[in-house]
Symmetry: C2
Subunit: 377 residues, 2 copies
Amino acid sequence: LNPFASVSGSDSEVRVASAGGGYPVLVESSGLRRLPELLLRYAPGHRYAVVSDDNVGPLYGRPAMDACRRAGLAADLFEFPAGERHKTRETWSALTDRMLEAGLGRDCTVVAVGGGVTGDLAGFVAATFMRGVPVVQVPTTLVAMVDASIGGKTGVDTRAGKNLVGAFHAPRLVLADPEALGTLPERERAQGLVEAMKHGAIYDALYLEELVRETVPLLAGEPGASRAAVLRSVQIKAHVVGEDELEGGFRQVLNFGHTYGHALETESSYEMGHGQAVAWGMILEARLGERMGITHAGTAERLERALAQVGFGSPRIPPGGRARIVDLLLADKKARAGVVRFVLLRRVGEVARGEGWSHAAPANLVREVVDQVPAPG
Amino acid sequence: LNPFASVSGSDSEVRVASAGGGYPVLVESSGLRRLPELLLRYAPGHRYAVVSDDNVGPLYGRPAMDACRRAGLAADLFEFPAGERHKTRETWSALTDRMLEAGLGRDCTVVAVGGGVTGDLAGFVAATFMRGVPVVQVPTTLVAMVDASIGGKTGVDTRAGKNLVGAFHAPRLVLADPEALGTLPERERAQGLVEAMKHGAIYDALYLEELVRETVPLLAGEPGASRAAVLRSVQIKAHVVGEDELEGGFRQVLNFGHTYGHALETESSYEMGHGQAVAWGMILEARLGERMGITHAGTAERLERALAQVGFGSPRIPPGGRARIVDLLLADKKARAGVVRFVLLRRVGEVARGEGWSHAAPANLVREVVDQVPAPG
């Protein structure tokens, strides 16, 4: 049952079920070196468009293009400016136009090399280029490996909010090379670790324990521990999205921690990192569930201890922020008639079934939980 | 076998097979009056976004919205400026933003009321709004009824060409009300008739004969003849796209007439109408097929007589245009090493199987066919 013991070789393949027949996620140390042969096998194209941001481009995008060319594949690199604020329709348009100018046609394959922004953006380019060309996801961050690269969600942000424009477009292949994690700032790995802990919280209590035990090597990007965590998270995420590709039901369990989390993030005008927001969101949603009599007592505290290990501390909201957070939750499109829906745990490792997979929480309890969060230090 | 005799009642339903389970095309006189109940049945939404251009909006878009509201549905009208030159990412962005500002969410349904541009554009909005919401296609032109509204192709143009950005997004329902055709200019009906004749040319010789016989009432928008033609074309198109939703193979038979046609259109800087271009394209592709020994002798002449009935006359190319047309064909992305691929007829009513459903034509024959077209006047 120990996920860290179950990884024998250095290569592992997890299959994701999908309407188009499914696709493999390869978790493979030094897998990047095999990229050209994997492209030929899983996504043979007349030409390849490698898409990276200008941080990852020099590190992994250009080497990927060079390796393809050495292997005799026609490949070009298309870079865009790094950062969530460039995950827009404008960047999507510009990438599309540059690919058209380069003469790429219906028989090209897009290769997304980078973090979550790159995967979402390049995936949306692929989803809409000549009504859809194949995409291969090559995540190079922990968040992208354990979460964003799997499940076929692609899209961009608009002024009205994040990911409001996009498409479901399953990749042909996801290639996660844990060796790439060494080049990241620790802050990024911490954020990825929060998403991995979320997988433990909703599905596998033992996995959460292991992650707590291995926090130090994981934060350091140590390859063995990283490979094991990526693999277990990929298994869990693949299982969830394979059950519910288009997010009608079960897939929403992945939103645990994200309802309060999203409001915290928005209230801070995105000064708060996504990992921090989701960490606190999970704790607050466990407190809410306990208050509603759905989540076993002690669950919130257990999550709080786990997330403290990663360095996110306990929830804090500046004075004045509380009312805005409650307003954001109650004004949300998904909130109807003052009722907000949350994914709630039964206990660590198990989501409580409600009406579908979420529960209507009364406005007064939603507010109480927020009101009892202390102000920062 | 007479398609015009096979329509007994006033309502007819044709089912289109699709990965998502398929959808009905209703060919129904006065069907527009039933729109609200049909929306509730086939695409129940929390709110409805009716999308029309500013020509069709006052005629059919606003009445559709009003009818929905009277029936108790929450509906809003979103208009955009009419014309192919507005079928762009900019218009798509603006429509999306206006829907977001109006507070529409994941539980809305888009209702595209209009011609081919509206169907493509509103379909692409629906395909990408919050990663995809349902769309109902309500075609009001003959071209859209017999062709564009069926098959799930959506998209917009870019400076590099038409329909280069888009997605496959099957509608929940297509509702074609032949009574709407009476409000069109005859020129539009002529263009639709060319696409209908193409259906006869590739699949049903008797249907082509009937269309020739009924050209006068069809050009006049006479409801009985229109309903019969729309229904038979819908049956043929539904069969073809049902066999090959994502255009890997059989669906390309619908491109008959469109290879030369597209080059004619581009050479004229789109001064030439699409119907005219496809009419002449079919004749030239029949001539090419005869020259290659694939198409039975006399086929081109038979098509020429049929299309002359619609008023498109015989192919003419201005001096100087011939070389540009050949260049366009040979420079096309689909052309490799001086070979252009064409869908070719065996005879009227039957496409000749080649390598898949198209044939490589040698450059010298492609040129010869163009060189022998006389100049205008």
